[in-house]
Structure formats: C-alpha cells, structure tokens
Subunit: 109 residues, 2 copies
Amino acid sequence: MEKSDALTALAALSQPMRLDAIRLLIKAGPTGLLAGDLAKALEARANTLSANLAVLLNAKLVRNTREGRGIRYRADMDRMAALMAYLMEDCCGGHPDLCRPAIADISAC
Amino acid sequence: MEKSDALTALAALSQPMRLDAIRLLIKAGPTGLLAGDLAKALEARANTLSANLAVLLNAKLVRNTREGRGIRYRADMDRMAALMAYLMEDCCGGHPDLCRPAIADISAC
DNA sequence: TGATCTTTTCGATATTTCTTGAAATATGGA
DNA sequence: TCCATATTTCAAGAAATATCGAAAAGATCA
C-alpha cells in the first residue's frame, strides 16, 4: 500500500458515522448490509450516509453492488489488513520479520 | 479502546507529516528521535512539526521526554496495537476468536 | 405508463483543520 | 548573568470537510 492510499483510508475512518459504518460492515461479514439498513442502524439521513459511504468507497475500504432497489455494501477486509500492515511496516527496530506473520494472519479473517 | 479514542487516533494519523512522523518513530524503535532530528528528516519547520507532534501526543500515539535542550519522542506501540484491535473488533462474522490472537501478537513487537 | 421506493447528486452554509510568522519558554554553557 | 540553541505557543488567514434540504436518477410493480 502506498502512502497516499493509507492517508485516504485513515481520513475515511476518522469520522464518527464512517467509523461506525465500517465496523458494522466488518461485523456483518461477507453478507454486508443494504444502505437503507445501515442508515436505520446508524440513525442517519440517507443523503448524509450516502456521502459518507462514497468516502469509504473512494478509499476502497468498502465495495457495493446493486441488489434490486437497494444497494448492498461490504467491507473490504483485504484493504483493512493492508492498511494495518502499512502502519506497522518496519516496526520492531528494523526487524519486521517479527511482525509480518502476525499481520498476515489478520488478512485470513 | 473507546470510540472517541479511536477517532482521535485515526484523525491524528490521517495527515501526511504526522503519518511520516509516526512511521519514522516506529522504525526508530524504543530509542525514539529528538524533535530536531525528526524535523530534519521530514524537512519540516520546527513550529509546524511541533503542532503536529502535539496532535500525536494528544492522541497518545507518542510520548515525549526532555533530554537536555532537546525533546525526545517515542511511538507508543501499545496504543497502535490497541487501535488496530479496535478496528478489527468483532470481525470474522461474530467469531472474533479467529482474529484476536493475531492482533495480540502485534502488541508483542 | 405511472406511482413508489431507494439511493445519490447538487448547492449552500457552518465547522474544523493546516500552515505560517512572530513571540515566548526552557535548557546549557561562557 | 548573558547568550545561543531547541522547542512550543499564539493569532490569523486559507483550505478542506460535514451536514442539510431539495431535487434527480435508477429500479420495481400495478
């Protein structure tokens, strides 16, 4: 992951509604959630949530697919894992091998 | 970690100079870096860097100690690990046990 | 086709954040 | 004490971001 991608992802996550949204999507797992259900769960207006989901989409932290009238959102777990790997890169005082395996395991969730 | 702590940490990380700074500090390990050396490495003005380090301090992602005329900064690896754990909490579709061990390992770096 | 439901887009305003120059504070040495 | 070095604090202006109401776009069903 490149620096600009990490910055975009971190900025996307650093907003209350978006942080709640992605955690709900992560919790929901591969099934994901419809935008409308997410709006209900978050007690958010449809247009505000839509704007925030667009930010998460732009950061590639979520993906969406149309499903009848609704649109289903899913968290991109690989991207989340890549972000965390970027943050911890070169940790352990120049001995990254001590950290990498642990980080790799997260992407297997 | 609570939601407000995670938001503060993510906002702190989502800025170019601060992201570079914490990664350098993580790379530097327990020794950390003097503010002045960090400023040179980042080619940043002292006051701008100081403002950004204050944001990282407020987020508790770094700590500082005076050392003669200089001030030494160190990354708080426990806090970084806690942030990542918060992000991945309840992942794996309600079976967090699959993820927790991997995340716990990161804090051992 | 027309009615309805779901979601997004647009335009405006309010708030927050970033950077900078100037000044202040703290430490160590002559 | 006086001076130089290192870092922070303050105030202000520019830029980015969040939210809202209104309206538009896409999809389904009678």
